[in-house]
Amino acid sequence: MVVGAGPAGSSAAKHAAEGGASVLLVDRKKEFGVPVRCGEGVGSHWLKELGISISDRSVCARIKGAKLVSPDLKSSVTISTPETMGYVLDRKVFDRELAIDAARAGAETALKTEVVGVTKNNGKVTGAILEYDGKKTEVKSKILIAADGGESLVARMAGINTLATLYDSDFGVEYEMANVECEGLIEIYFGKSWAPRGYAWVFPKGEDVANVGVGIGGMEKPNAIHYLNKFLELDRFKKAQPVALKAGIIPVGAPCRQLVADGLMVVGTSAHQVDPIHGGGICLAIDAGNIAGKVAAKCVGEGKSDAKALSEYEKTWRSAREKKLLRRLLLRKVLEELNDDDYNAAIGCLNDADVGKLLDGNYAPVAGKVLTARPQLLRALKALLTSSETGRTL
């Protein structure tokens, strides 16, 4: 049984079904993929690295690059590449397609079905109590896969701690807005006044429509909506009108310490499998779901469901992804310590050609320039340079 029909759950359901397991995919919502709680951006490099393909229908806009804006708004640098750097998706369509794939692979699906309890026998998860159609029913499972997102309770009810602490979470809110002029670039605004311990963003969704949002660190006051309202006071949003509101929690700390137990696997955002720098989790969720689904099918086929057998998922996932995520978490800690003057100086002294050099791996001249402008940035630069991939993924 898979709980949660987001990217992680649907991918797990699909691969488990393809592997011959009989699969039930349940979700509390009346419509898979709705409501959307996401900036909807994905980077091409993740798609490539994880071998994920996306349909034309789920793509709202192709992104040429990213524009980083300094806290004082006086300067910006643009990172762009000749090929498409990323996509802004329509998550409603995207998630629906993944669920359809799971159903086509043979998974049964259930809407408006809430998991209100987990059943156990001798410490082993044996099923879940589902609430639907006005009644509670116990349904047995050989393996329960928890993919119920940042608000995950299923894994916690089963005994794996997926609680998101305030410190290790970001909280985001965004409007999808019309009448926003965009240049086909995602825009990232740094600075304590815009988004403490996070960033504010404009993600174009095609023509004059964009997701405009902020994500802030969990210990910050006041709440995220305050910062979004302030961001929207900028002149460029004068004509902007909201057409949708999206909010959510992003667990940006390290992935959960435990991903499997007897009869249980945790995948996706509920397992905190999220990029700590930009808070993106779509690709990581699909990747983890794919691995978990395959392992689940294999284990069911062999009649196994103990933690030891299921740990093949945890081992495969950790060895493939965790090191990189932890490196990026360290980088996040360094970036969090930068103040507005640091960002103003760094972004202010760079031009687009410098960014081109960075992308080509030619760090030295750029680092020299930044250090001349702001010697205090030595530590941060060191961390940037030791964390490979950074130039491409920022």
């Binding site: 709680r37 608000e151 009810m157 609680l163 998101a164 909506i225 909010a247 959510g248």
Partner: protein, 57 residues
């Protein structure tokens, strides 16, 4: 006691994710509150992106 202002709530589940007491649950179109479990720690208040939650005595 947790009190959620439904005119502000976006049903995003952030409060559910940070509640150490599992006193909140995200349902299809609303957030269910179990005040008997609440320890008044205030994590949900801090977390709520919409500033929709208050703790009341």
């Amino acid at each position: 006691m947790i009190e959620i202002d439904r005119t502000k709530c976006a049903y995003c589940g952030a409060c559910v994710g940070v509640c150490p007491a599992m006193a909140l649950r995200l349902r299809d179109i609303y957030v269910e509150v179990y005040n008997d479990k609440c320890t008044s720690c205030g994590a949900c208040v801090r977390a709520c992106p919409m500033n929709a939650i208050e703790l009341k005595k």
